[in-house]
Amino acid sequence: MLTIRDLHVRGGGHEILRGIDLSIDAGEVHAIMGPNGSGKSTLARVLAGHPEYEVTAGDVRYQGEDLLAMDPETRARAGVFMAFQYPVEIPGVNNAYFLKAALNAVRKHRGQDELDAMEFMSLVRDRMKLLDIDQALLNRPVNEGFSGGEKKRNEIFQMAVLEPTLAILDETDSGLDIDALKIVAQGVNEMRSPERALLLVTHYQRLLNYIVPDVVHVLTEGRIVRSGGKELALELEEKGYVGLEEAPAARA
């Protein structure tokens, strides 16, 4: 579903990604782990189309198409979803109104009919239960005044409504207490399906206790230095990232 070849990315005057190779198939869950500054969030944001980065070399194919040639909204409509590490507060834009516009943009792209207000609300109520989202949150401006946990849950709630094909979770676990983490993980696990791929970007192994990955990659200094099964995460938890730079890079 997603094939990244030799991806080099610059941002803020520095080379952040220095040759990423990664391949994810439908139905798989991959985790990318790495220390702060390793470039893992950059990878997530580049895949979502953030304009602040410059791709200097490499190629990304999503369902056979050139992902990097698409603008952010085209990617989203084609089924790429990134849960933001720092969801943006947008005063004055109603959460429900925004989500309905987003869903209808995606549905239109898929050749589905747009949902009216009633149909949208019945879909949304169902997903709200899954993420334990309060109705009041839906009627507030997007992310404005939300607690850290509410913002993260709102991201996964959006994902549950938009039903992407490729979901990228950028440090969704950071800032969550254990109860919130369990709710978020449960929501993500409900989304696992043979047609859908998940890429989890995280600093800590903790999340992976609840969302068990098929493949774990270790990213340091802009390169994937190791790849392995879910047990690699446990090894990292034990030994830390130090010393991994010298290990031979394995290709997934």
Binding site: D71, E73, A76, V88, P91, A105, V142
Partner: protein
């Protein structure tokens, strides 16, 4: 001092013609006030950018244009724009086409006993004493050239009087429609354009409550100049919600003064929404003349192209325990310019004043520009006054967030512009007008391509 620019004494000539026509019908006090106003105007001339109050707003295009009274130059008719701007729920709806009262287009339903909504010209005979007491006594013109011009040359407008304790459940709607004069190829650079001087006087009796909406619109591609003055007098505990929706044509000029005086515990709320005009200036001046009076001044403007919109507001805290809230926002595209000058005066005995002023500008282009200036003059020591100004461009992070969920760039921009505008529009209790302003903003954005 301002320089007098007065093409061929056109205004003095217009004044003489008007004086000759109305001499027999208007009361002497009106004649005297008109005379004093034209004398003042001749002394002041048009303001120039050397005048601090007009530093960023050059009115030369107005000073150099020869205007003819719209009512003399143009037929009344029934411009189609009138129908789309009607407020069906209005208690009374008075329509003026090119400055003339169009009774066939207007309707005044049944009003509570003692309440009056009628053309100002007819009120001159029916309510002479009320008019004499207030007309041209609320809006000072000694240093205001455009107010002086209006005071000298007004021909009609609206008189609203709501007696003590009376509540109007639905708004009074006043529409000023201009069709303008189409340019001919033979015209000189300054050309010829139509002028109107709409005049509104609103008297809100003690404990009365009502809403009043002024809509200004252009109905063709012709050129014109609207020079409006509105005077509002609020008695004790009165509440007046004043709305102004300015949707003039982009080649028109619009100069307007709203002057309100609020007595003890009265509440004056002004919502000023502006979308049109090549050169626009609004002066909103509120005096809190009784203890416990409150005022809210809100404004939202959109300008594109090379248009200029200038909002000058002044809140005069003359007595203790008064509060004021002010929020002015402007959205600028292309090479449009805006000026905001918010003056708050707190008089020596106006203790416990609570004043808050905010001005925000959203610049949609690198070439758009705003000059913003808070001006606090505080002569009392136990007061709370805050002010803030923010000028910014579209929030790129928010834009990316919306796009990352599938919204087209154009829609994402529109969402954010609407959100910016919503802070002002959502403060308007009159839902029909809120929806109209919202729709008009969308139409303007689409037309100008500023949402792109």
């Amino acid at each position: 001092m301002a320089t007098v620019i007065n093409p061929a004494g056109a205004y003095t000539a217009a004044f003489r013609r008007l004086a000759a026509r109305v001499a027999a019908t208007q009361p002497d006090w009106v004649t005297r006030r008109r005379q004093r106003a034209i004398d003042t105007f001749e002394r002041l001339g048009f303001p120039t950018t050397r005048d601090e109050e007009w530093r960023f707003t050059n009115v030369t295009p107005i000073a150099e244009t020869e205007f003819v009274p719209a009512g003399d130059a143009l037929a009344a008719g029934n411009p189609p724009a009138v129908e789309s701007f009607r407020l069906p729920m209005a208690t009374a709806e008075l329509v003026f086409v090119n400055g003339r009262y169009a009774s066939a287009l207007s309707k005044v339903g049944s009003l509570p006993p003692g309440a009056r909504v009628e053309s100002l010209a007819s009120a001159l005979t029916s309510h002479a004493s009320e008019l004499e007491q207030h007309l041209a006594h609320v809006a000072e013109f000694e240093r205001q050239a455009f107010v002086a011009l209006n005071t000298a040359l007004w021909t009609d407008g609206v008189f609203v009087s709501v007696p003590a304790g009376t509540v109007l459940q639905s708004p009074v709607h006043i529409m000023f429609v201009s069709t303008g004069i189409r340019q001919q190829k033979s015209d000189t650079a300054g050309g010829c354009a139509a002028i109107t001087h709409p005049r509104v006087l609103v008297l809100a009796g003690r404990d009365s409550q009502f809403s009043i909406v002024e809509s200004y619109l252009g109905a063709s591609d012709g050129r014109y100049f609207t020079n409006a003055v509105t005077e509002i007098v609020l008695g004790d505990q009165a509440l007046v919600e004043h709305y102004k929706l300015q949707a003039e044509r982009d080649i028109s000029y619009h100069m307007a003064t709203i002057r309100a005086v609020a007595a003890s515990n009265a509440t004056f709320r002004s919502h000023s929404i502006g979308f049109g005009g090549a050169l626009v200036r609004n002066d909103v001046v509120a005096t809190l003349s009784g203890e416990g009076a409150e005022c809210t001044l809100n404004g939202l403007d959109f300008a594109d192209g090379t248009r200029l919109v200038d909002n000058h507001t002044m809140i005069d805290h003359a007595k203790p325990h008064c509060s004021s809230r002010e929020l002015y926002k402007v959205i600028l595209a292309d090479r449009a310019r805006a000026v905001f000058n918010g003056k708050i005066v707190v008089r020596p005995d106006a203790q416990k004043t609570d004043a808050k002023q905010t001005n925000k500008a959203l610049l949609l282009s690198e070439d758009a520009q705003i000059n913003t200036k808070p001006q606090l003059e505080i002569f009392a020591n136990d007061v709370k006054c805050t002010h803030g100004a923010a000028v910014g461009q579209m929030d790129e992070d928010a834009l990316f967030y919306l796009r990352a969920r599938g919204l087209a760039l154009r829609d994402a921009r529109e969402f954010l512009i609407h959100a910016f505008a919503g802070e002002v529009l959502n403060k308007m209790p009159l839902e029909a007008l809120r929806d109209r302003a919202d729709a008009e903003l969308l139409r303007q954005l689409t037309r100008s391509g500023a949402g792109r």
